[in-house]
């Protein structure tokens, strides 16, 4: 949001607050105010807070106050209107800066000089102006590059659980992402909502030290900052990102964390408005609200830039059917799911590939893009690992000796897959390296069992190991 001094010509009237309810104000005398408009709330002492009109009824408005309503009383408070919706400055002068959740500097530095201002809610991209994302991004992480391939312009969330290393995975992807054969730089717009100081420090070090600083912006809404400001944070971030991607033709990666904190703020507003609660108290329009953020990812025709989104959410109780991951999964183009079990075993990164998915993978891989055997190999690894996990479950019931030989081969495969393919530690793997590891893992299987790869690909890449090698 802009913090340019209020121009008297645009500032109209002082209104009376008749009610304060949680993050909401009920204000009278709001004639001439537009729906969704930005207002300023003054309390006499303390900073001016910004708010937004959520409902208009005659001359009464319901206003959500981003700075929270602490200290707002009926008397000394006045509400000023500016005649426009919330905007933010956009431009490259924000690189290297730490901003608060509403886009104001919080690093003590000077006010950035924006190229321009944009409304934070944006407008829907016209489907006919979109270009379908199809450019492979190499992240250096095998599980992602090989099996859950990310492409430029995709929106791909990380479904995490409390305490799982989603932040470091996101930081790693942001640092390593590159498109083979294209050295266009990736710029990072980072939006943190409800994060702890420790997490904030981690991101500041990751993104704003060294060379990365020149191509990163950090928006921080900390856990003890006003919760309602979180509703603004991703919108400001995405507005800046859209400008960079679609007007400046840059490749922008927007990292948003933690969407769970965002959704909780949404629930708070909804509860304060006494709306009919949906599942688990989240409002019925949460799908639409999340879509208005996530759909801002993409590529456009005639442009060379892209806006890729990587958002982190914490699944409450590790429950993937909870409304936050559920609605997210319905909107995003796949998901990367972290597993507590793999994390406990020290596997890094602990990605559970079975529930994970990249819906745009097919568009970004194959001959001419990655390699012709990429799809088949991925399907085969999936199929073998799924079967291996199934056998592992079975084994816990019937014991290993009760398993036929073929089944034991799948069991050994699952373990090896986790140890070598998934657990790569901090090393970066090229795509060729990832594919190579994949084929090696398949070597214990006779060719006839590998139905997902074509005969030619088998002939080229499959080196069947001798039978004895299979008994681990």
């Amino acid at each position: 949001m802009t913090t340019t001094a209020a121009h008297p010509a645009f500032t109209v009237g002082h209104r009376t607050v008749t009610r304060v309810a949680g993050p909401l104000l009920v204000v009278d005398g709001m004639d001439g105010v537009g729906y969704g408009e930005l207002v300023e709330v003054e309390t006499g002492d303390g900073p001016v807070r910004e708010g937004q009109v959520l409902e208009l009824d005659g001359s009464t408005a319901i206003v959500q106050v981003f700075g929270g309503t602490v200290g707002i009383g009926r008397r000394e408070t006045s509400v000023l209107t500016r005649g426009r919706a919330a905007r933010t400055g956009v431009g490259t002068d924000y690189f290297g800066r730490v901003l608060d959740g509403a886009g104001r500097p919080r690093d003590g530095g000077p006010q950035p000089v924006p190229d321009d201002y944009r409304h934070v809610n944006g407008l829907p991209l016209n489907p006919i102006t979109r270009a379908h994302p199809d450019q492979f991004i190499e992240t250096g992480v095998s599980a992602i590059d090989g099996l859950i391939t990310l492409v430029r312009g995709q929106k791909l969330p990380i479904f995490s659980g409390a305490g799982l290393p989603a932040n470091s995975l996101a930081a790693r992807i942001a640092a390593q992402a590159r498109v083979p054969g294209d050295d266009a730089e990736v710029v990072v717009v980072f939006a943190a909502m409800g994060v702890t100081r420790r997490e904030a420090e981690f991101f500041r070090t990751e993104f704003l030290t060294g060379g990365a600083a020149a191509r990163s912006v950090l928006l921080l809404n900390l856990a003890d900052d006003p919760t309602i400001e979180r509703l603004m944070t991703p919108r400001v971030a995405l507005t800046m990102a859209e400008y960079l991607a679609f007007e400046q033709q840059r490749h922008v990666l927007v990292v948003m964390t933690d969407m769970t904190a965002y959704c909780e703020a949404l629930r708070e507003i909804s509860a304060a408005r006494e709306e009919m609660p949906g599942r688990r108290g989240y409002p019925g329009y949460m799908y639409t609200d999340l879509a208005s953020l996530y759909e801002r990812a993409g590529r456009v025709r005639g442009g060379t830039g892209s806006l890729t989104q990587l958002m982190i959410l914490t699944m409450p109780d590790d429950d993937i059917t909870h409304p936050i991951p559920d609605l997210t999964g319905y909107i995003t183009e796949g998901q990367i799911v972290l597993s507590r079990e793999l994390d406990r075993q020290g596997i890094e990164p602990p990605i559970d590939v079975l529930p994970s998915l990249s819906r745009l993978m097919n568009a970004g891989i194959g001959a001419g893009k990655t390699r012709d055997d990429h799809r088949g190999l991925a399907d085969q690894l999936y199929a073998c690992y799924a079967r291996g996990r199934e056998v592992r479950r079975l084994m816990s019931i019937v014991g290993e000796s009760g398993l036929p030989v073929e089944d034991r081969r799948y069991l050994a495969f699952a373990a090896a897959f986790e140890r070598t393919y998934l657990d790569q530690g901090p090393d970066r793997r090229t795509l060729a390296g990832t594919l190579e590891v994949g084929w090696q893992l398949l070597s214990p299987f006779p060719a006839a069992e590998l139905k997902r790869v074509s005969a030619e690909q088998l002939a080229r890449h499959h080196h069947e190991a001798s039978a004895t090698a299979t008994d681990d």
Partner: protein
Amino acid sequence: MTTTDPASRESWSGNRRVATDSGRVVRISGPVVSATGLPHTRLFDVVRVGVEQLLGEVIKIDGDLVVTQVFENTTGLQVGEPVEATGEPLYAELGPGLLGAILDGTQRPLQNLSTDGALYIARGADPPRLDRDLRWDFRPAVDVGDRVGPGDLLGSVPEGRAIEHRILVPTGVSGVVTSVRPEPSTILDPVVDVDGHPVAMLRRWPLRRARPVANRLPLTVPLITGQRVLDLLFPVARGGSAIIPGGFGTGKTVLEQALAKFSTADIVVYVGCGERGNELTEVLEEFPELSDPRTGAPLMERTVLIANTSNMPVAAREASIYSGITIAEYYRDQGYDVAMMADSTSRWGEALREVSSRLEEMPAEDGYPAYLATRLAGFYERAGAVTCLGTPERTGAVTIVGAVSPAGGDFSEPITQNSLRLAGCFWALDTALSRQRHFPAVNWLRSFSQYGLDEWFDREIGSDWSPLRRWASAALQDEGALQEVVSLLGVEALAAEQRITLRIGQALREDLLQQSSFDDLDASCPPQRLLAMLRVIHETGAAMRSAHQRGVAITAITSAAVLTELGRMRRWPPDHVDDSATRLIQRIAEEMSSL
């Protein structure tokens, strides 16, 4: 010219914008805007809201207060702005130019919503729904002096390479043809006069009302989908309806798109309702490159795309379903087989819910309004196979395939449950199957089809179709039961006979039901090929059993190398499937007997 009941009359004039009433905005809550000063307004009348004239529709009248849903974003709208009532309901514009079009939920062409290279959808645009300048080559089918009535064929224009767009006498119009103009005409030019009154090609029809037909027909012919699991186990009838419920990532969209590409419909209306923008872009990029499996014309020329993505206004999402079904009925009335895909009907239900909650209506289950079931029924009941009104005698059909996105993947929620009662096919997608990358992830134990289409398949495809279908269905059931035993006791606990059942079940699942949409050769499978594959698997079972009776060890039978040949059936060259099947059956029999 005589007109019957004016309310049911099909309007065919151009843009009329008659303001009958004008009032003022008094309340704004998201898409729900209330106004006063509109005493003559009726429910579902169209209104123009604010100085920007945003399109809206009356959804409730409460004394002086007229409550509307606005199909565009209302940010910036102020109390006191004018509201105009048009006195008309929301219309679809019907006529040549629909095929290949890409429209939003209120039928606005998306090309006209971002002009001058703009990327985003601007607000307040009100372009004509159909191009008024294009000229179509009208070829009359009537002569001066002919007596015509509603639905009679007046003539046609070629629309694209494959479809003849038939221009019919509007409902409510009958009389004698007094003039015919066989010349290139715009949709507003009169092409025929009836009793001296000009009739042009453009028709307007209220979205929320079903179009009339002469007769409803029994559903006896399948819509061939090209998906083996559907055509074999859960076929949908032409004029029937199917729902595809499934959690996220289970394959609803891929399946809807596969049906849009490969099903044997003449016309496809694809409604992207509250889903991803990129999925429509994909259709837009892909369809012009693909050809209609039957006519060879570009696929886009049989397709109408309606795109109201999740970030576009919610109320227009609600309207998009009705725009889609009205366009579908319009082509049905010309005598075509139309398939309408709606992805996802849940987003439509959620739009109803959002508007209802802003109206502070008493919610029923999960916050959905009590009229959810009625609205769903009103939609699904517009599917059907019909005898069309008018001459020459024609039949047409609208088949509806609706995706359902249940919260948490739990099918007990209201949209799934209410749709389940209405649709004839239930194609249940299964998260567990999709995680094993078994696609299409249709759960064969949970899904069903209520259409009796065996007779058609036996007659048209092969007389062993229905016995083999029953066999496959039972074999899958048996395998499922045995799998449960295996998961408790291990495979060794099974008798040899049961292990053969298990292996055959596996072949049915992996080599028949699985079908990747990304495999160019296998993305669609004609029923003849499906039958051939099924015969091979059936004969394989017999060969395995006879090997077992001869005393061959069961592990040698179930792991015989020749069984991997079953996985190659999907790559058979298309022209010789029967030969390929015969050869493979022979080979399997030989190898089993040499074990």
